[in-house]
Symmetry: C2
Subunit: 318 residues, 2 copies
């Protein structure tokens, strides 16, 4: 049996990424009900909002689901209290030191996965006792690693040094990319952008339409002097790019960013001034579909591609 399916008790080795302003209880429960692992993204939620999403998710599905928690969250203790009180069984932690919380969560019987973008943090996460890692390449949307290592380079490097299962993320929205992730050494995939445009995603409709209209080269890794983040180009991203080209320092960038920019764009629909986090693979997304259809399309095309591979030894005279 696939180690990630076994770990989470799910049917398909497809995880829906926890995404700010996109993945509330509606998306998470839809993905879990369809046989993948849905994840509530706590990054954009106050503790009591998160509690409400967890409770609604439990009512909407009897399948496993998880919560993604950015560890640098200022009120992290309150967030942890909520997930413990609500009996969440699976936590994906990110953006912080995996050593800080993994032991506490594991001691409560929670399955813990940490999101990393380089080998150093993969080893740290493994040493902290996580059950699996999500390895996120440069092409992924949202916050991203400083090394800019792509999925193609990151996964084989990790496979050589860690023992825990690897969930590949970044650039995966098709059966071809999912098969490639397995070829690289991953045991499962985490899919973000493709689920950001799901019908059940809480992203603003204007954002979803801007994503499906996006073409190659329409996202860019920005804010490298703060925390690198992959953004869809718009008025705000262009202003950042111009400031960066002119040598803007951290404080200029922080002022440009201001507060609640991601909410303004992704949730409230201001396509000009909002911060729009999405992956490179948005160039391949062409319609808004139910999460179940998105998951099944990826899974079925993965199976088709895997089937195609059975003729490869013959084609190559092996």
């Amino acid at each position: 049996m696939n180690p990630i399916c076994k770990l989470f008790h799910i049917k398909y080795p497809i995880i829906q990424a926890g995404m700010v302003w996109c993945s509330g209880w509606k998306l998470a429960s839809a993905v879990s009900n369809a046989g993948g692992l849905g994840i509530i993204g706590a990054g954009s939620m106050y503790p009591e909002v998160l509690r409400e999403h967890i409770q609604k998710c439990k009512m909407a599905t009897n399948k496993p689901f998880g919560v993604n928690i950015p560890l640098l969250y200022p009120n992290i203790q309150e967030i942890i209290d909520v997930v413990l009180e609500e009996g969440v069984k699976i936590i994906f932690s990110s953006a912080g030191n995996p050593a800080t919380w993994t032991g506490t969560l594991k001691a409560k019987g929670i399955t813990v996965v940490h999101v990393i973008a380089n080998t150093k943090f993969a080893l740290k996460a493994e040493a902290a006792g996580v059950d699996a890692i999500v390895a996120e390449g440069f092409e992924a949307g949202g916050h991203n690693g400083r090394e800019e290592t792509t999925t193609m380079c990151l996964i084989p490097m990790l496979k050589d040094i860690v023992q825990v299962p690897i969930i590949a993320a970044g650039g995966i929205a098709s059966g071809r990319a999912m098969l490639a992730a397995f070829a690289l050494g991953a045991d499962a995939v985490q899919v973000g952008s493709a689920f950001a445009v799901a019908e059940e995603s809480s992203a603003h409709s204007a954002f979803k339409h801007k994503i499906i209209a996006a073409d190659e080269g329409d996202t860019k890794l920005a804010m490298k002097k703060l925390v690198p983040v992959r953004l869809l180009k718009n008025g705000f991203a262009d202003a950042v790019a111009m400031a960066e080209a002119d040598g803007a320092n951290r404080s200029v960038l922080m002022e440009l960013l201001g507060r609640a920019r991601a909410k303004l764009g992704m949730f409230e629909g201001d396509m000009e001034n909002g911060e729009l986090e999405i992956g490179q693979v948005s160039a391949m997304l062409k319609e808004i579909k139910p999460a179940k259809v998105i998951l099944e399309d990826i899974w079925n095309s993965f199976r088709t591609e895997l089937q195609r591979f059975s003729s490869l030894p013959n084609e190559l005279d092996l």
Copy 2:
């Protein structure tokens, strides 16, 4: 039969990238003799030097080999004259408009492949009548696309829109990555960095040793205001990075670059002041080996990984 093996009359669908200061007749003939396609990189050669390399390559192998020609070369007509006079059968063109020379070369019976980094140029190349394309992702060494599209994202996009065979490049130095390239839709792979450190590579020994000592995050895409180029970090690259962070404009960058920087570093071995072009996958390269061993290691691990895949349907309950 594999379309790229058929097109070039080679045994393995592995192409050695044409690389400035690395791939002269010694490397190209070694790769071709081992069953891949060796390529002489004309980008760092005066026309008469190129002629000498072609002649020596013909003496060193009776297998097919190619020449890579950057089309923006100032004396491009002289270079074309040399390859025509010397009866070169395979041309990989890059860095320029494929419409300009493809027809002329094809009319002489030459097999023409064009290197692209985005879908727009892939379609242009196909329309110009090329026999195949090399699709190069963000992780690749040397000159690179402005869209920063990674191999993982680029190949599936191309597979949906072009009919000609696709040779994937960028991030490929292992059987896992080669298998991933096939999963993404490629028919073959082009391997650069791994052959740059071959014994037969004409790169300076100091450069080869710096590559095999390189770790994750040690390369960076630089010079984005000129032509983006992936460089190994050193004194020169750091100076460029600092200038760029301060908002340096094109003329400042051109002055910093000066002339013959790549030769100074890659060929003459000045590890501090030279321009060192190499891919992200350099982090995975750990020794200097003969080209034949490099090729066979990739091929054998590709076969092993493909074999491993035969248990995947079972693991996934398919």
